[in-house]
Symmetry: C2
Subunit: 98 residues, 2 copies
């Protein structure tokens, strides 16, 4: 039996799982319960998977990780923006207290 089909279904699920997360994050502009360390480390890991796929010329790894990065780079961007806004507000609060 060819087990590759299981791998392709698994890869499709773990990759496209991130699409509803991206849609929710764009719609609600709220990523407060998502860990910044998680998104940064995860996106770095996905980039390394892509490099690994390119080095090995492994097309499924390349395709799945390009897709995943298309979902996770915008999520990471939104999270960093939220954190910066939060830091900015803390600055404002500190200034107002003075």
């Amino acid at each position: 039996m060819d087990f590759d089909i299981v791998g392709y279904i698994a890869g499709t699920l773990t990759t496209f799982a991130s699409l509803p997360q991206l849609i929710k994050s764009i719609r609600e502009r709220d990523l407060s319960s998502i860990s910044l360390t998680f998104v940064l480390t995860f996106t770095t890991g996905l980039s390394l998977w892509l490099i690994y796929g390119i080095l090995k010329m492994d097309y499924p790894i390349i395709v799945f990780n390009i897709l995943s990065l298309m979902f996770w780079i915008p999520i990471t961007y939104l999270k960093i923006k939220e954190e910066m806004r939060k830091c900015g507000m803390n600055w404002v609060k500190k200034l107002l207290k003075k």
Copy 2:
């Protein structure tokens, strides 16, 4: 050159990235900005990756996915609990309005 090291670093990053997410979710008990569809689909995908690893007797795939599931099953549990609590509260609100 042996490219496997890149794959191992990538796998370690994408796997352990989820640990700070789990810690944050347990501490804050807030998963409101995490998509339920994402956690359910992602955890199902990880389980399929584990089955694929077992079928192919591919130990790195088995180890990375057991670890990932150890992080994502509790996150999924917490998210489902939060959703159920929210639904419960909606029920209470509807009852109070009557």
